[in-house]
Amino acid sequence: MNWTATTCAALALVSAAGLAFSQEEETPKPIPRQALEPPPKELPRWMRDPRLGEIYPRRGRYNFDVYRIEPLARDLNAIAVGHSMVYEAIVTGGAERLETQTYAIVDRVLRHPPKLMPAERSISPTFGRKYAFLEKVFDWTHVLHAQTVDVLASPRMTHAEKDAEIEALWNFYFDSVPYAITPLPMNMEYLDAQSYSGAFRKRYPKVNGLFWGYHWLQGAMYDMLYGATPLEQRLQYEVVGEQYRTVELYRTDRDFMPMFADTSPQFARRFPKIANAFDNLHMLHDLVNDILADPTLGELERDRQIQRAVWMILASTHAHESPMERDPHNALHDHRHFEGLPGMGMMKMSTPELMYMQGFGWMNLTECAHCSVRLPEDWSEGVGATVSAQGWTMNVRCVLCARDMAAETPGRAILRIATEDPTQILILISDEEGHWSSVRKDPVFLEVEGSHADCSDWSRAFTSRAAFDAYLKANADNPDLKGAKPLTLEEWSEREGKKPDTYARPKGPVPNPYRIEEGEAR
């Protein structure tokens, strides 16, 4: 790209961001709080079926390989206990002790996680008997969660085999039972605008924090595992696990539940159906929690609303609907997703381009979080990276953006970087002082800083010197790369780029859609 084109592109980006909400008709309005609706008269038959109908998970040599990363396995085991204990307490008259006694018991389990995964039904038998249909949905989707993690943790499968098996697991999940969760993106703002929405987080902020902490880990672990060697997985979990155990579990200031594509954007791009299903599962948890916590609902009404909540997120409810389809009169059937990110439904007051992200403000998800240049569609061209630090994960376009964005953040960070080999992701982990390390032998970096409009041309990572040389040879006509020298990890780490010339901060319709006063927003 020549200078003129670069400048035009940058100006276009800046003006596009500035104009994002300049036209009245484009300004999103908050979805008003919904009136209480009864469940449909014709609920799926399986919801009344007294049989358990349990199906054995898909067989594979990878099953239980999560135990190769034992701290992760144990944390996931504790999550199962944490979910179950809270549900059991609520339905056995212990709601008043949720924030004190139950929280303390669950917290102890989280700090001393069990070696093996307990059966949730054994820990929450009363809840399981009362909402047997809900347990089926939870259990079956938790099996998908567990098996996809097992595949990713398997040391015996290639990257391609893992991709293929995860697809097969999805098909097995979706085709085997009538109670699979929809893989379509759902409008999260609508689902969180039910009459009872917010009741749980308001009454039980600490326990809700735990639930959202669980869901943070259940999302974040996917990119941590994806494309990484067993050693890289274990090293990353030292960072991710510490963040989970010390910060994420105890946060009570979240605006909204953690979204899968926020925490694992790479996996969500590759497997959008799974990302959506897990978000919808986690939203089902929120819906159920809010129903159980709403003091205005009687026992019978709670049961009816839980039936409706399950029905809302079932695949069968959205049969024959497609991603990006939208019923303008019914937000339950709004399946728009963010541009370039089919694995995430619409969030509060968002557009397909802009979303509010806590701690960052409004973000354009199609753009680099550091330089605002458009992100690649995928990483197959060796372009793209993510930065994970302090619990967030951001998409960036080049390795300079990744490094510099991490440097602006205190604490440890993880960079996941596309290389010239689509099957090899370069993973860099920093210590508290910002020193980067990698288990890969001798990665090579290119960095000839210029305008960020084409930063992915001059800032790249390679798996070897030979790959670096091949790239320069293939781009011999690019004058910016003339005389470029290969950089070692150490040399590259010591560099610091200038402030990106292309950065533009998007503007949203309101400063923070989650902090609008009650009467104003709904």
């Binding site: 054995y56 239980f64 995964m117 059966a119 820990i123 038998p125 009362k130």
Partner: protein, 257 residues
Amino acid sequence: MTRSLRIGLAALTLASGPLGLAVDHDNLGAGRPLRFDDAESLSFREMAVEFGVVGEFPRRRTFGLGAALEFQYGVLPDSHLSIGVEPHWGGHGESFEFGAIELGFFHSFRQEIRNHPAVAAKVGLSQPTERGESTLLHLRGIVTKTGRQYDRWHLNLDAEILPDPKPGERRARYGAILGASLPLGYPRSFDTTGLAELAFQQGPLDGQGWTLSAGLGLRRQITPRAVIDFGIQSDLATGRGMDSVPFRFLAGYSTNF
């Protein structure tokens, strides 16, 4: 082998039938380690193998040792098939005997929902491998219901039918077991279940009375797909003409795949 001995060894090993349940310390199957079943079947397409040993110290016989090996397969939703063998040594001064081949079918009609108990039934066929022995048919009805919260109670009603009884043998005999199970260690550990049972069983010969026996057991998860179990049983009271077994121990291992 006489019917009474076969029945006694069945009680030693896989008790009232050849069937066991999913490999989870809280899923209970006959023989692992006590006599009773809960009302859950294996998952659809699940496979499991169970192995157990049992030793008994009868009052008027020599020490006996038995083993049980069983394969189970979830052939349909809420249903599984099983096949097993129960070789044994001693007991009546005999040497090794291969015992019978046990075939079984278990079906769960409903899980426990709200106040309605879980209900299941199983049918077993015990086919002797030795000449002169007759086929036994086992029928069992199972009801499982939760007590206060974590304690579960399991009522098993048994009928054992001998289609071709020898002189002096009962064509049908009956039994009942009340079992209880309770996960142990909550809320700090989640891998062990304690079991107890009280069993009544009619003697196999005409004119024999009932035996009342009790048992205690533990099931412990040792890996994600393996459980070990231990149990002890004792005949508390025996009816007219019945042998008494004051002490019996059982140990086993179950795995699924």
